[in-house]
């Protein structure tokens, strides 16, 4: 063992003894056609923590998020290189089944996008396609616990068979979270989940994110500094496709190393 590793081990031990790594991106470059959107990003995602990705629009934070469950695959002109691992496995390995990956790494989008089906069917969608349940009572149980975990069950228990699109915006977003956790993912990616919601619905979703941290690893992209400060344990700052700095949220917000982070957080640009 050389000095450097010793120092790193020591740093991990002193900083947060129980933290383990869930996902890790190293040397990630992303291209949309000719245009490069991400430059050599190295970022670790720690288990059972909320990692916030912040930065001005177009800085690549959503792009990085979408790399984590290979949603960029659906865009024809998008190319990704570098390595992203989930529990040490390279998720861009050709042997990896993207269907299984996305069952383990779920996603919630900026705009609530419930399917035009009933509330029940929205939540049962994932379990159905992955064959997680077979009897009606098993499905009922999954739907109920997922809705409960998403803090929505009490509001909708009397109208499970009404269309999910009939809910309010905040309820729709929590329905989407329930839909994502119905397949028991390990990581949940959230792409500005509150940007289409009013402050009260936002507060509910933020509270929910904090509760979900116990069982899931969460990565959230947000434009709201306050939100990042409220919900996350670690924060990564992106700018123009580069990862500027990454660290515990407290430190990033009180004593950032990089001037750009300082400027962005205090509202001098962005």
């Amino acid at each position: 063992m050389n000095m450097l590793t010793d120092a790193a081990v020591e740093a991990v031990l002193t900083e947060a003894p129980k933290e383990t790594l869930k996902m890790r991106g190293s040397g990630v470059n992303v291209f949309y056609g000719e245009k490069q959107a991400l430059f050599d990003v190295n970022l670790d995602i720690r288990e059972n923590q909320v990692t916030a990705l912040i930065g001005p629009s177009g800085c690549g934070k959503s792009t990085f998020l979408r790399c984590l469950n290979r949603m960029n695959d659906t865009i024809d002109i998008c190319r990704v290189n570098g390595e992203i691992t989930l529990d040490g496995e390279d998720i861009y390995d050709p042997r990896i089944d993207v269907v299984e990956l996305r069952a383990r790494v779920g996603m919630v989008f900026q705009k609530p996008n419930p399917f035009p089906k009933s509330i029940y069917e929205n939540v049962a969608y994932g379990p159905r396609i992955h064959g997680l349940a077979s009897t009606k009572s098993e499905f009922d149980a999954i739907v109920e616990t997922s809705l409960q975990k998403a803090g929505l069950f009490n509001e909708v228990k009397d109208r499970l068979h009404e269309p999910g699109t009939g809910l309010s915006g905040g309820q729709q977003q929590r329905l989407c979270i329930a839909r994502a956790i119905a397949v028991s993912p390990e990581v949940i990616l959230m792409d500005e989940p509150c940007s289409a919601l009013d402050p009260i619905a936002t507060a509910k979703v933020e509270e929910l994110i904090d509760e979900l941290r116990e069982n899931y690893t969460i990565v959230i992209v947000t434009h709201s500094m306050q939100q990042a400060a409220r919900v996350s344990q670690r924060t990564a700052m992106f700018h123009l496709g580069h990862l500027v700095e990454e660290g515990p949220t407290d430190k990033i917000f009180t004593n950032p190393d990089d001037k750009r982070t300082q400027d962005y957080i205090t509202g001098r640009f962005g």
């Binding site: 269907v99 989008f109 399917f115 969608y125 396609i129 992955h130 699109t165 397949v183």
Partner: protein, 459 residues
């Protein structure tokens, strides 16, 4: 004459436009920014005032001129001719008068007719000149009135736009009036038919032999007007067509929207749309000369006798014809499902096939059903392919290998040749047409309703 009149009115309104514009130009020169409307609106206002009332007047004049002159002619005939003449007798007189007036003389006309023909020519000339004079003076009067109203503060733009509203309302009314006219004429003749043949015989009879005896004592009898075989034939052929078109159209739409890359799509989509542009008579050739013999040969190899005119050939080719309806409407419906639905499904770990069957198709279903219903009403109304490929015999059968006939084909055959509007053979065409109209109207209304509900689906 009338053509020149239209040109004259147009020329006048063009002149009015320039007069109005230059008048307003003088206002601007004199008053500057205080002038309410821009000169071009003053010009348009004057042009509309000069053109529109005169044009409307001419159109109505032409609509009523013939009727009025006919009335006058009949009234002017001597009492001896009118005495005891039936309406058809009178209309015979009228056409004879008009023939004589235009110089088509077959036999030497009686002096009364010759006199009437002269009157007819005179009255027509008077009416024409009267129309020209009245129309042009209306235009001139309108120009004068428009000019007196023009002032720097005159709201020419609002006035012009109000006139445009009227033009748009009139255009919309044309479509409605024509539809109403079709319904009225169909219903009128159909009621005539049902006076001769009781409705229950038409709607429930199983025999369709629309002959009428030429002589009173003819052995062939009176013919039968049971429309059931005709309607089952229509349904059979439409069902075969849909059976071909729905899977092919739907799968090609799914392929084009979800699986094909831009290059492939750029080739396939226009080619599919060419199918919609092929004249139906060409499909008819194709059915008769290619598909029907092929089906017969295939049947022969399997030892099944297939008649040369088969519902299968006609329905199959008709199915190919309506593929573009289904594929392009389904294409639109699938495309209209927001990308966020696909993203949501993919992010759950769904495959493309699962996303298509579980999210996209249910979400697009109303649009797809709308497309299918439109295609169905097209199939039911199609004539040419069936005339050429399915035959004329009204057989009550569900066997697609036999020849059947359809409503539209029967209407064509009933109305070809000598038609007499006092016997059930001719009139039955209108009863068939009315039923067909009602059925396709219902299908269209249903399709529109479904499509409309679909539009409200997302936000």
């Amino acid at each position: 004459m009338t053509g020149y009149l239209f040109l004259a009115i147009l020329a006048l309104s063009l002149i009015a436009f320039y007069v109005g514009r230059s008048t307003a130009g003088r206002f601007v020169a004199a008053h500057g920014a205080e002038v309410h409307s821009r000169p071009i609106y003053h010009g348009a206002f004057a042009a509309v005032w000069v053109g529109l009332p005169a044009l409307v007047l001419v159109v109505f004049w032409l609509l009523f001129q013939d009727g009025v002159i006919d009335r006058l002619l009949i009234a002017s005939l001597p009492e001896s001719m009118k005495q005891g003449a039936s309406p058809s007798q009178l209309s015979l007189y009228l056409s004879e008068i008009k023939n004589v007036a235009s110089g088509r003389i077959f036999t030497e006309p009686s002096p009364e007719i010759s006199a009437a023909a002269e009157r007819y020519q005179r009255w027509q000339a008077i009416a024409q000149w009267a129309m020209v004079v009245v129309a042009l003076s209306v235009s001139a009067l309108a120009l004068y009135m428009a000019r007196t109203r023009m002032a720097p503060q005159f709201r020419a733009r609002q006035n012009f736009e109000r006139a445009l509203d009227i033009v748009m309302i009139l255009s919309a009314a044309v479509a409605i009036i024509v539809t109403l006219g079709i319904i009225v004429s169909l219903t009128y003749e159909a009621i005539q038919f049902f006076r001769l043949v009781p409705p229950h015989e038409f709607f429930f009879g199983l025999n369709w032999e629309p002959q009428i005896p030429i002589r009173e004592d003819q052995v062939a009898g009176t013919g039968a007007f049971g429309a059931v075989p005709v309607f089952t034939g229509t349904l059979l052929i439409a069902a075969i067509a849909l059976l071909v078109a729905i899977p092919v159209g739907l799968f090609s739409a799914i392929y084009l929207v979800e699986f094909a890359d831009e290059r492939v799509r750029g080739i396939i989509k226009p080619v599919l749309e060419i199918l919609a542009g092929v004249p139906t008579v060409v499909y008819g050739f194709f059915a008769v000369l290619t598909v029907a013999p092929a089906i017969r040969q295939a049947g022969g190899m399997m030892g099944i006798a297939i008649s040369p005119n088969s519902a299968l050939a006609a329905g199959g080719v008709m199915g190919i014809m309506i593929i573009p309806f289904i594929s392009s409407l389904s294409d639109d419906a699938l495309r209209a499902v927001p990308q966020s639905m696909r993203d949501g499904s993919f992010a759950m770990g769904a495959t493309k096939a699962e996303t298509v069957t579980r999210v996209l198709l249910p979400a697009a279903l109303p649009g797809i059903v709308g497309g299918i219903l439109l295609a169905a009403s097209r199939a039911i109304g199609e004539t040419m392919i069936v005339v050429m490929a399915a035959g004329l015999t009204a057989t009550l059968t569900a066997n697609p290998l036999e020849g059947v006939t359809t409503v539209t084909v029967q209407i064509v055959t009933l109305l070809i040749g000598d038609t007499a509007f006092d016997n059930p053979k001719t009139l039955s065409a209108f009863a068939l047409g009315l039923v067909l109209f009602v059925v396709t109207l219902c299908l269209n209304v249903l399709a529109l309703r479904i499509v409309r509900r679909y539009r409200e689906k997302y936000e």
